[in-house]
Amino acid sequence: MKEISISAQKIGEFFGFPITNTFLLSLFFSFFLFIIFFLTFKRTSLYPSKYQNFFDWILETLLKYFESLVGEKQTAKEIFPIASTLFLYILFCNLSEIIPLSAISHYWRTPSSDLNFTLSLAIFSMIYIHLLAIKKLGPFNYLKKFIKPKNPILTFAGILEIFGEMSRIISLSLRLFGNLFAGSVLLGFVSLIFYFLFPLPFLLLEILVAFVQALIFSSLVVIFYSSSIKIH
């Protein structure tokens, strides 16, 4: 049985940069997603084809769900592109864990079970949220949420908010990584014990976990955005 390692395995080199198996799969899934949506929405029409109808249904359901989280329509629309892209990308990457080739082959490992992938997504999302908040509120109003000039105690509490943001990055990345890594280890063990009917309940659980974790990541991005543009 292949050994279990937390970091991804290197399978090649590219001008001195190591290429790991999760990196190749993440590139593959992003191109796959891009090509699917590009081909579907290349020619939109008022009478949609069945593929355009399907993706329209997915995106509309996501938009209604984000509106129910935030309350008002405008903020949901502003954060919708990045949140829905994150949802679909993480969903595709999570669902690739269902194929338990990772226990036998060196080349297959879901990108979400690599801490580099989830950490980079979390850091990018938080920086994006803060930049959107600066653009919407203006730099002075944005700084006023952290530094309150009349009250030194509240200013100190505002500076401690920065650590709150760091903890959000860590919790976002570790939640996704922990769920997916533990899930892939579990599926690998169970598939090697007895391959034919025994892994079914574990596969069902992992499909549920894949959907829920993608939904949690994108909903948290929406909630953090809506709380960062509120002026107290």
């Binding site: 937390i6 570790l174 939640r175 990584f177 922990g178 769920n179 890594f181 533990a182 829920v212 949690i216």
Partner: protein
């Protein structure tokens, strides 16, 4: 004792002690959600959505403990 045996023992202790509290609170949330759904059957789908959302957050804490256990055993 060899280091391998100590690693296995501590991985087992970590995971067993660590999931006690998350699981108790998940049970409490499930119980309150069922009470709420019984009192107000029209709001049942909203309560169910929030319940599943809070399960995912609580499960994340239990997953952190599982992560540490795996790191102890395989790291």
């Amino acid at each position: 004792m060899e280091i391998e045996i100590i690693k296995n023992i501590f991985a087992g202790i970590t995971i067993s002690l660590g999931v006690i509290f998350p699981v108790i609170s998940m049970g409490k949330i499930g119980a309150e959600a069922m009470k709420g759904m019984a009192r107000n059957p029209e709001g049942a789908s909203k309560i169910q959505t929030s319940m599943i959302l809070s399960f995912a957050f609580l499960e994340a804490i239990a997953i952190y403990v599982l992560l540490i256990a795996l790191v102890i055993k395989f790291g």
